[in-house]
Symmetry: C3
Subunit: 449 residues, 3 copies
Amino acid sequence: MKTITKLGLAAALMALPSLGLAQEAAEVVEAAPAAAVPTDTVFILNTLLFLIGGFLVFFMACGFAMLEAGLVRSKNVAMQCTKNVALFGLASIFYYLIGYNLMYPLGTWAIDGWLSGVWGPGVLEAVGVTADAADDYGYASTGSDFFFQLMFCAATASIVSGTLAERIKLWPFLIFTIILTSIIYPVSASWKWGGGFLDAAGFLDFAGSTVVHSVGGWAALAGALILGPRLGRYDGGRVNAFPGSNLTLATLGTFILWLGWFGFNGGSQLAMGSVGDVADVSRIFSNTNTSAAGGAVAALILTQIMYGKADLTMVLNGALAGLVSITAEPLTPSLGAATIIGAIGGIIVVLVVPVLDKLKIDDVVGAIPVHLVCGIWGTIAVVFTNPDASFGAQIYGIVVVGVFTFVVSGLVWLILKAIMGIRVSEEDEIAGLDMAELGMEAYPEFSKG
Amino acid sequence: MKTITKLGLAAALMALPSLGLAQEAAEVVEAAPAAAVPTDTVFILNTLLFLIGGFLVFFMACGFAMLEAGLVRSKNVAMQCTKNVALFGLASIFYYLIGYNLMYPLGTWAIDGWLSGVWGPGVLEAVGVTADAADDYGYASTGSDFFFQLMFCAATASIVSGTLAERIKLWPFLIFTIILTSIIYPVSASWKWGGGFLDAAGFLDFAGSTVVHSVGGWAALAGALILGPRLGRYDGGRVNAFPGSNLTLATLGTFILWLGWFGFNGGSQLAMGSVGDVADVSRIFSNTNTSAAGGAVAALILTQIMYGKADLTMVLNGALAGLVSITAEPLTPSLGAATIIGAIGGIIVVLVVPVLDKLKIDDVVGAIPVHLVCGIWGTIAVVFTNPDASFGAQIYGIVVVGVFTFVVSGLVWLILKAIMGIRVSEEDEIAGLDMAELGMEAYPEFSKG
Amino acid sequence: MKTITKLGLAAALMALPSLGLAQEAAEVVEAAPAAAVPTDTVFILNTLLFLIGGFLVFFMACGFAMLEAGLVRSKNVAMQCTKNVALFGLASIFYYLIGYNLMYPLGTWAIDGWLSGVWGPGVLEAVGVTADAADDYGYASTGSDFFFQLMFCAATASIVSGTLAERIKLWPFLIFTIILTSIIYPVSASWKWGGGFLDAAGFLDFAGSTVVHSVGGWAALAGALILGPRLGRYDGGRVNAFPGSNLTLATLGTFILWLGWFGFNGGSQLAMGSVGDVADVSRIFSNTNTSAAGGAVAALILTQIMYGKADLTMVLNGALAGLVSITAEPLTPSLGAATIIGAIGGIIVVLVVPVLDKLKIDDVVGAIPVHLVCGIWGTIAVVFTNPDASFGAQIYGIVVVGVFTFVVSGLVWLILKAIMGIRVSEEDEIAGLDMAELGMEAYPEFSKG
């Protein structure tokens, strides 16, 4: 058992530090015994970063749920909540059943056999490991790494649910979620964070503008194209706005996502056990916040200029755009550069939303501009502040992950469509998914205007 | 003063490590000087765990408030918010006035006299203690322990408020809260966590499936029986559903509770100053999350099968059921076992809710199935994964705590009923507690459907 | 560059520890090498406190947004959300552009020139600093300090937005926000926390009852006087209540603020790298919570006595009043004293709200009683528990900060009024700011009662 675990974790060790700061993380592990922070303390602090980062990113599931529940019409709100809770539940289960092993693939499978993590200690270390045994576990607890990585995987699915809201059937959506979180995301993420060929090619994506956000965005785009727009959304050349039913919820969701992003980006430093690492985490927190601010303010000003009125939903999506844009490289920019990277993200969102409408791609919450387009922008923007980045490698990573995710997602959506249908009936869509598929309303006492 | 404080804290020290991991926690304290993590660092890290765990569990008070406000009808929403804020305020005050000393009883009372914690340093250590003086405080700051323990006490009262919503008078409810948080919970909790006879009997309850959740559930059940169901809820053999007025709030509350539970269970490790402890906290985070996922998914599938439609409120209560179920032992299960323990919790909720209705026990938010029944299930489930657990000891603890809480709570409710009445008038109940008892509405501008 | 940074940070170092516990924080730095916690670990733990405190205080921006969105009428809700997101975004940008350097003024400006922090490393340390280089950065990462301090600055602006809701134009409000967060707050805060003359005079304000909350309150009061009350609020001698549209949101906002306050006060200890510091943080958490509880319970009881009915909005504001009241000194009080300090805050709010109405000062959310009046009360209350405080110095600080903020804010409001007007037209106010300035509604589907 010990040997097996060790192998599994050796693989994890190999894989983990490659997220952004491979060299430094490795240095920490080696240098620690001689440095002023004792090795065990380093282990504890690194683990603590994963735990804090993990619960912050967990809370993003709530943020997505609130954002999406606020931006759909009230007849689909309960369904949107159901999907968000259910997708997180399924991601939590299928990521340990399949995804985590697939993402860090060298270890447990070959030796333990399929699904070893379920019953054996494949994923989590044994109860009460001693400091000696911890040498097997490298520089942080595997359990904390699993917890942290899971939350990234679940975020991918949360992105999809927003775009496809108000017309997709519950169960096909959940089956897609299972495939996304157990296979599509882990496979493509392993190419970068599992020590795969994109990592070897010099592709840089610190916390996942491409690996997480664009993957969610591509999967959502494939779904939106196959699913088609909501009834009445595009009448000939006219675009009918379907205003969100509850903008306070959308605001709440945005603030929660903003909060969670400190864990998303800060935790991706993967180490907090040295002065250099904790100072870097501090830079990341500051830059992440500043980029969100840049995105929100840019969207505010641009909508005022373009439309003569500020637009709250654009400001919210602008903040999220800033967050996605800085995610590929939250460490190296100065505060000024981070503001500009985020501001460009905010501008992208304001400009891309009408383009999608022109193309009759119906994205209920704006997840494609925010997560896909700004994910691409953020990945490219790495080259402006990180001297280790090459434009070619960034484009290579964007294209490879994009093609893979879009094609495989599209195939899965097409198969689901053929087998069971993915869209509710016209009557159900008009009545709302809440009454049709759940038999309940989110706000049963409030009459509709 | 110093001596007194020392005695009080010696008692606390004796009592604290007995929560679940007595042996290990004790080892940490002794082994630390020789280990690689310096003693002072251990003290800081343990204290930090209490503080982080504490603020996460604090946030559960918000989660309960949102869950309950979402599941009552709109005419009672402002009152439900009022009760939740007020109960937390009263718990915060009465737990330090009486409860905390009662729960860890060896020290301060006898020497300082009654209510010594109020003005003296009985509860909190002096400002700016030195590292030397910290030896008196054992392995973590008493102030942080008090903060953490208080949040558990308050959670008990939050559970009660949900069951009795929409018909109980404000002030009798608050008086009950005072008695629950200053006496009932601390006394029964002391039997396990204060180093009492249940602890000596080998009863295991890591973070409180029985000690916290069932206690809340028993108190709620006693109240529900004495208070009776809401008007019109049970017409002869028919059960009339009173749908919750705001399911996004209920979803928000569930996510917040889920978040807070990482602190609830993870903080109950009571130590983070060694590799073994922090790895265990990581296991606990992962298992807690997985169990909630299991509960949510099981409830989703079961309602789809039983009723032909998924049910959002059941999915939410399923997640909470998973959380309660894993609380008695979040450390020893594998991820697969945690999923199953949570899934059984989710199934229990779906099955028990209609049983309560058949018995005409009106539990507005489903707190009895979630906290009481799953609290019992979780306490029994310890025997499946923890070799130190005995079925007999678990049943013994469940019965002792249950009989005590149910009987004493029932007596308090009966006395309150006799003295001041606990139920609002029929007119007030029909009009809603908001207008009747507060003279305000939660949503004054939204007309009722 | 190194030298410059060092100077900048030396200034920060000089300035920082003066917040409340100058002596102790300084001791930590000096004593650390010899003590049991290694210097690097101290640096990491101090930084971690800023990061955790910072994200908690960040979340207060969400709390303010929810509180205010819940307390305005539904026709102004989307605007209130817009203002809260936008003000936070602007504060984030302008605090690093101007404010932070102005607040800790000795360093970067003189040498780097204006706006040096934008592109250079003036604010954040370089990527991957080594432990040796960290000596330049003193006892914690500057990036984490910036992140933490920014959140305090932003809170000041959040306070203003509540008072002036439902009638102020978006852009003049945002311009005021820029001036407040880049100049007014940083200048007055530097007098205390930047090592200025108020600090030298012995003025004590641990986490900012005066420096943050009263500053926000004074700026709001100046604005309210110049802006005038909402249409129809005061008809002759009659006060017309305009009930908040969504009290669950207000409750949510209060709980979030309460949560964030643990970071606000606890983080203001500024150090967690010693047994004494972490024990003090624990005291602060406990006292902060207890004071909020005291405020909520006092407001509950007082409204029941005065009006015969409990009042939810008063209970919420009572909790916030307790939090503001304890902010000037959350460390030295016992739990009993903290309860009383908070309770007096809660009583103040209940009594001051009608006084403001009598004066026809229209404060939509009660921010003036909560943040200004209780900020003053809390600053005075320091003398009751902290032997180092002098009544004269406290009054001196209150008056100096008050006069400066009120006069400068008033001038800015008057200039804005003269240049561009600060109030929407009568028609727009009646129609609601959401349709008038944003062209959207927060709850478009819910008909108004």
